[in-house]
């Protein structure tokens, strides 16, 4: 279980799943995330505080994830979000989100939008990370 209670892992799963899907993750996804998270090494204090900050300020998950991707890609916090992503990809209900689908003429615009959003999030995330590390 690591240093967090099962509830904490569940809360992380719920928060990270909602961030990745834009909707609450299924019970199956949460159960699987809990099982997988139990095998992760414990978070250090700094990371524990950052996770707690993100669970209190869920709007910050995207920006912090984007900033970590640039400056600390191997961060255990990002690792937990990544674990949720891997779990979601391996559930049939979410498979269509990960398999190539019929091409829409607007798809390139949507992809460009994601790229721009990632950039914007990273800029905001740098500030948030600095604030969160002092909190």
């Amino acid at each position: 279980m690591g240093p967090h209670s099962a509830t904490t892992d569940l809360e992380q799963g719920m928060a990270f799943g909602r961030y990745l899907l834009g909707a609450p993750p299924s019970e199956d996804a949460l159960r699987l995330f809990e099982r997988a998270a139990a095998r992760l090494p414990p978070l250090e204090d700094r990371e524990t505080r950052l996770v707690a900050f993100l669970l209190r300020n869920r709007w910050a998950i995207g920006p912090v994830d984007a900033a970590l991707a640039l400056i600390r890609p191997a961060s255990p916090v990002r690792g937990r979000v990544f674990l949720m992503l891997a779990v979601l990809e391996c559930l049939p209900e979410y498979a269509p989100r990960f398999l190539p689908a019929t091409r829409s003429q607007f798809e390139p615009l949507r992809i460009a939008g994601h790229a721009l959003r990632a950039l914007g999030r990273a800029l905001v995330g740098m500030v948030v990370l600095a604030v969160a590390s002092r909190a």
Binding site: A69, F82, A86, C90, L91, P96, P100, T102
Partner: protein, 532 residues
């Protein structure tokens, strides 16, 4: 016979068919978790319908979720992880510059082989210290046994060359088909730049043979061997185990040998109990893989010199074919390399670099998403859009030595074998320059063909999984020069010990080495039969 991989299997088959009584000693690690849970479905069906898919895509212990730096073996899916089970404990290796992949599996590294088959040219064989005429016959013998599918095209002088009996090549998917069509259109220009492209020759059946079925395009190539269309050495060993003159003993890690006037005493460890085991034999054929052979030979002599090593420099280029961006998952799906691109500017079939071209189809997106410098929620729709257009080109470069290379065995009390193998590996400045130059040329030609490089990945020395040259063939054939092999594979200074893997190769062409290793193993076994 030590080892059950590609070389062990072919050497053992030659010995058994030649009438010898053969005992195979092998660690023999097997997949005991996944074979029964990977469904017979194709990749997309499994993804969209199997609620238990995480068990084989992520692993029962989530061992398929990558955490650290991408390195050698990172490509192994959970059902293939047994290939490296017990390796860190029983085959300890320390290095800051060399990161090889070794196996204690039943079938060795061949259980995860990418199936690419290339026959060396006569010039390459001579440079490696191998006899061209005998190797040509051995190539055909191996090809008939394992089954090779290929096509006569611009690549075949580098792949199937003179092989006569091959099955038709597999169909291409949209990604490879588009690249191949571009090549045919720009053939003269590409060839003028020193490149040749064609279908990859694969140890993969496209017609049923015995109990092995033709490739079914399930695209579960990295997860199971259900139809046995892909050749795996354990298939040969399974067949041999039905013969009266063959005995297989698993859970044995051979550590050293002693030679007496009448026999060879082989010492080892029981990999389960840790206890000592020993066997006496008339002749000993070593084929546990180049690095393990080096360990065994070094432990068997008082003097423990540094040994040389060859290993193909390797990197891969991630490229995008823009026309396939966002394309739906339709048509054939194949996980193996479908095209090969050879750089041979002198048209000499020597000093050739080889690019193996793969589509990214049957692997999970999260493996790539993790590598992007983007927020994960933005990265996965982008990667999903890119994936159908993603073309991976693994580039192998030939290795003739140079730079700093050494293998040495040092005492280590904590190790089960009381030692550790230490490795140093670097290229000479000239070698590094040639690698960079060839990569630039590959990048340019791929761009002509419509595949644009977006990233270069260097997994480090050793990641090519092609190792050789630790006990090089003695060019003078003195028969006594220590830590060399006689032509034919006999260990110099020994009357009863043979080495059937790539330890003797003095030059390592960039072309896939496995077919040549198997052909050389047959020649070594034939030599042992003649001497007996």
């Amino acid at each position: 016979m030590v080892g059950s991989g590609c070389t062990g299997a072919m050497a053992a088959a030659t010995l058994v068919e030649g009438g010898a009584r053969v005992l195979m000693l092998d660690a023999g690690e097997r997949d005991d978790r996944y074979a029964s849970i990977v469904p017979p479905a194709d990749f997309v069906s499994a993804r969209t319908s199997d609620p238990e898919q995480y068990r084989y895509f992520l692993g029962e212990d989530f061992e398929g979720v990558p955490w650290g730096k991408v390195g050698t073996g990172a490509q192994l899916t959970p059902p293939r992880r047994y290939l490296v089970r017990k390796v860190p404990e029983l085959l300890p290796l320390e290095s800051k510059s060399f990161f090889p992949l070794e196996s204690l599996a039943y079938g060795g590294l061949g259980a995860g082989w990418g199936l690419g088959c290339c026959a060396y040219s006569d010039a390459e064989l001579r440079a490696a210290g191998l006899p061209p005429a005998a190797m040509r016959a051995a190539y055909q013998w191996v090809a008939d046994r394992i089954g090779i599918s290929a096509e006569r095209d611009d690549a075949s002088p580098y792949t199937i060359a003179h092989l006569e009996r091959v099955q038709p090549a597999i169909d291409m998917d949209a990604n490879a088909g588009r690249l191949h069509a571009s090549y045919l259109r720009l053939r003269r220009r590409v060839q003028a730049a020193g490149f040749r492209m064609g279908r990859t020759a694969l140890a993969l059946l496209t017609r049923d043979v015995g109990e092995r079925r033709a490739y079914a395009y399930r695209d579960m190539d990295f997860y199971d061997d259900r139809e046995q269309s892909a050749y795996r050495p354990w298939m040969t060993v399974d067949e041999l185990r039905k013969r009266e003159n063959f005995l297989y003993r698993k859970n044995v890690l051979v550590t050293r040998f002693e030679e007496t006037p009448d026999a060879v005493i082989v010492h080892g460890l029981d990999t389960v109990s840790g206890g000592a085991v020993s066997h006496a034999c008339g002749r000993l054929v070593l084929a546990p893989g180049v690095l393990s052979t080096a360990r065994i030979v070094l432990r068997s002599f008082d003097r423990k010199p540094e040994l040389p090593i060859l290993c193909n420099p390797y990197s891969y280029l991630a490229c995008i074919q823009p026309a396939l961006l966002g394309a739906p998952a339709r048509g054939r799906r194949i996980g193996f390399a479908q095209l090969s691109l050879f750089h041979d500017p002198a048209e000499s079939n020597f000093d050739v670099a080889m690019g193996s071209i793969y589509s990214y189809r049957s692997l999970m997106l999260f493996r790539i998403v993790r590598e992007t410098p983007l927020a994960l929620s933005d990265a996965y729709p982008i990667v999903r859009y890119l994936a159908p257009a993603l073309t991976l080109v693994g580039i192998h470069h030939p290795d003739a030595g140079g730079g700093r290379r050494s293998l040495r065995l040092e005492p280590r009390a904590a190790s089960p074998t009381a030692d550790v193998l230490k490795a140093d590996f670097s290229l000479s400045e000239d070698g590094r320059r040639k690698v960079r130059d060839r990569e630039r040329r590959f990048t340019r030609v791929l761009r002509w063909l419509g595949a644009y490089r977006i990233r270069r990945v260097d997994p480090g020395h050793g990641s090519s999984i092609h190792y050789a040259g630790t006990l090089p063939f003695d060019a003078a054939d003195s028969g006594v020069k220590p830590f060399t092999l006689r032509p034919g594979g006999g260990l110099s200074g020994s009357a009863r010990v043979y080495v059937a893997d790539g330890s003797g190769f003095r030059y390592l062409p960039a072309k896939g080495v496995t077919l040549s290793l198997m052909a050389n193993a047959r020649l070594t076994a034939l030599g042992a039969l003649r001497d007996a």
